[in-house]
């Protein structure tokens, strides 16, 4: 079983839900990411989504776009991100890491070369925002050959046939985008998420994570009642932005926020 599958199986046994923080690799500085990743695990993260900076993050809101810009100011490349994971694995062999980003940096590296390097470094999954299964004819098999789970998004606009097709292609887990919009938006509706999750679960046994719009312990706890994983991104990245000159403060604030989310989710 893959590291991702193992974590979800163990959590299911304990009746707990996965806390999945997202940060952009290299934000605000490449040296901060590794200690930040370890701190997030200590604070209760079950799986880490590591953002690969991209110049044109079309599906992201302003907070995560600026995170990309800060990382790119240090020329953080896909190679650098893979290397970060390799160093993370030197002391953490259990927490799954999913790279999240856009297709073009992977295209530039080549699917096969990317999958080979990422797998060797200990990357467990890849979530590429702008590659739907329809365009994944070469991409998905290349990832699976190297034991990397291709993780796909589902959206409020995904109808039944699409959900079936996507869940048949995906492995690891699927990521439900809780609202029509970009990352960091604020208009989350729990009822509509609950309805959609029921529809998704009717199509697949894969764990379902929910993200977009989760910003505090309250929303995380509420989401943990209905989803298998709770993804939090912009709320963390905005702590980094507010403390870009004092990374230690940013790490502490993120540790604290994740801790409150963890407790709220375990109490849910």
């Amino acid at each position: 079983m893959s590291r991702i599958g193992g974590v979800f199986a163990a959590l299911r046994e304990q009746g707990r839900k996965a806390l999945v923080p997202f940060v952009t690799a290299g934000d605000p500085h490449p040296d901060v990411t590794l200690p930040l990743m370890h701190a997030m695990v200590e604070a209760g993260a079950d799986l880490i989504e590591l953002g690969v900076p991209f110049s044109d993050p079309m599906a992201d809101g302003p907070v995560i776009q600026r995170a990309s810009e800060r990382a790119l100011a240090h020329h953080v490349s896909l190679h650098d991100v893979i290397d970060l994971v390799r160093r993370f694995r030197e002391t953490d062999s259990t927490t799954p890491v999913v790279l999240m980003g856009y297709l073009n940096p992977i295209e530039a590296m080549g699917y096969e070369a990317f999958a080979d390097a990422a797998s060797a470094a200990g990357v467990d999954g890849v979530l590429t925002v702008d590659i739907p299964p329809e365009e994944g004819g070469d991409f998905v098999p290349a990832m699976k050959r190297h034991g990397i789970d291709p993780i796909f998004l589902l959206a409020p606009t995904s109808h039944r046939a699409r959900i079936e097709r996507i869940t048949a292609t995906a492995s690891g887990f699927v990521y439900y985008v809780s609202l029509k919009g970009v990352t960091g938006a604020a208009n989350l509706s729990l009822d509509s998420v609950r309805d959609k999750l029921a529809e998704i679960r009717a199509c697949t046994d894969l764990p379902v994570g929910v993200g977009f719009g989760i910003k505090d312990a309250e929303t995380a706890g509420a989401m943990a009642r209905i989803a298998d994983a709770v993804v939090v991104g912009s709320a963390l990245v905005s702590r980094i932005e507010a403390n870009a000159a004092q990374p230690d403060v940013a790490i502490n604030e993120i540790r604290e926020l994740l801790g409150t989310m963890r407790r709220a989710m375990d109490a849910a």
Binding site: E69, L78, N104, P105, A108, A155
Partner: protein, 412 residues
């Protein structure tokens, strides 16, 4: 061209390439690379467009608008004095600058706005570089009584003030985009973000033959009126087709509009002209076909300006409308198949051509269009006077007065 045979022409595909395929691919290019939220809306748009294309009432309304509102057909003008001065081939100009709003852009926006109306959308969004597409979108939105928001990079807002004001006069809200390089690509990112958020009531009018399927095909079909008219007009005027077609290429909508109906005419040489900016060897340009490589951006696979890590790099061109790091996927396909050639012209060559056409013919071209004129000025002397070059005079230069004056150290 008589109005009677237009409908019949409209209903026939521009040329029989059979492309794109069902999922929007032109060979290895094109496709639909967007986040999941947009997949169903793009399917809906594709279905609505197919239904509209099959409905003669849609084309009748379009034809009325083209004739009475845009002022089509646009004429072909023989630039006799310029041709004599350069020597060699005759230079002919397809006068898209005479369209309502001053450029070819309106051919597309009236089509997409009619589609928006059919789909029951109440809000229009658009991205713009030079402001021509923004103005053309604001124009059709005003006419149909639709809310309109135009995204425009901060840099472009500064260099195209007149068009910003025109859009506001027309009732559009212009949103200055301050992310990234603050130009056209960032405006497109921001428009996509708006669309993904407001997809229920909003129609996104993309201004060029790029973006996810069905946009490249749909915009091409709306712009192909340029080439269809040109073909008929050239046959009527000269009894033969032009030897060379020439058009500037940013995203590539005016170029594909002229080129497409001629793709099966093997004797017609097709040349697209990109912006070489300060020169291809300086890296400061906007010529992905000449100096880029294939990648994925803005929903399609095409040639891009990118660094070795796959990050999109900032482009440079004196003309805002060509200042874009990608290009329509059908151009990428035409380049790879060899059916069209792509060259690049520098800022200074384009400016010289701008002045030359203005002085010899009394026609002030857009800076974008001036790139095509510059290439024709290079090519014509190598051809014979019996031959002809048809240039798509895609837009007029009124919007560029500030930019050109600034080049000469003047402030208007």
């Amino acid at each position: 061209m008589s109005i009677d045979n237009v409908s019949e022409l409209e209903l026939s595909p521009p040329a029989d390439t059979g492309l794109p395929d069902q999922r929007g691919h032109f060979g290895r290019f094109g496709g639909r690379f967007v986040s999941e939220t947009l997949m169903a809306p793009l399917d809906e748009l594709t279905r609505a467009y197919a239904a509209a294309v099959a409905d003669p009432a849609f084309w009748e309304e379009m034809e009325r608008d083209r004739r009475d509102y845009v002022g089509r057909p646009s004429p072909i003008y023989h630039a006799q004095r310029l041709s004599e001065e350069i020597g060699g081939a005759q230079i002919l100009l397809k006068r898209e600058d005479l369209n309502h709003t001053g450029a070819h852009k309106v051919n597309n926006t009236i089509g997409q706005a009619l589609l928006a109306k059919r789909m029951g959308k109440t809000r229009i969004i658009a991205e713009t570089g030079a402001g021509q597409h923004g103005v053309a979108s604001a124009t059709v939105a005003a006419r149909l009584g639709l809310e309109c928001v135009v995204y425009m990079g901060e840099v472009d807002v500064a260099r195209q003030e007149a068009n910003v004001y025109r859009m506001r006069l027309l009732g559009a809200r212009v949103e200055a985009v301050s992310s990234g390089s603050k130009t056209l690509k960032d405006a497109l990112n921001e428009a996509m973000r708006d669309w993904v958020t407001n997809v229920d009531n909003t129609f996104y009018i993309i201004g060029t033959v790029a973006g996810p399927h069905p946009y490249p095909a749909m915009v091409r079909d709306f712009q192909a009126v340029i080439g269809r008219e040109s073909r008929e007009q050239m046959l009527a005027m000269t009894g033969r087709l032009p030897d060379v077609l020439m058009a500037c290429v940013g995203g590539g909508s005016n170029a594909i509009g002229l080129f497409h109906p001629f793709l099966d005419d093997a004797d017609v040489r097709i040349i697209g002209v990109e912006a070489a900016g300060n020169g291809l060897d300086t890296g400061q340009h906007a010529a992905p076909l000449c100096a880029g490589r294939p990648g994925v951006l803005h929903g399609n696979r095409t040639y891009l300006m990118e660094d070795r890590d796959g990050q999109i790099i900032e482009t440079h061109s004196v003309s805002a409308g060509l200042d874009y790091p990608g290009v329509g996927p059908e151009h990428a396909w035409l380049k790879d198949t060899g059916r069209a050639e792509y060259v690049a012209v520098t800022d200074s060559e384009a400016l010289a051509a701008f002045h030359r056409l203005t002085r010899t013919e009394g026609i002030i071209p857009a800076l974008e269009t001036s790139h095509a004129i510059a290439q024709a000025i290079k090519l014509a002397p190598t051809m014979s006077p019996e031959q002809s070059i048809l240039i798509n005079l895609s837009g007029r230069g009124d919007k560029d007065m500030h930019t050109v004056a600034a080049q000469e150290g003047l402030k208007l």
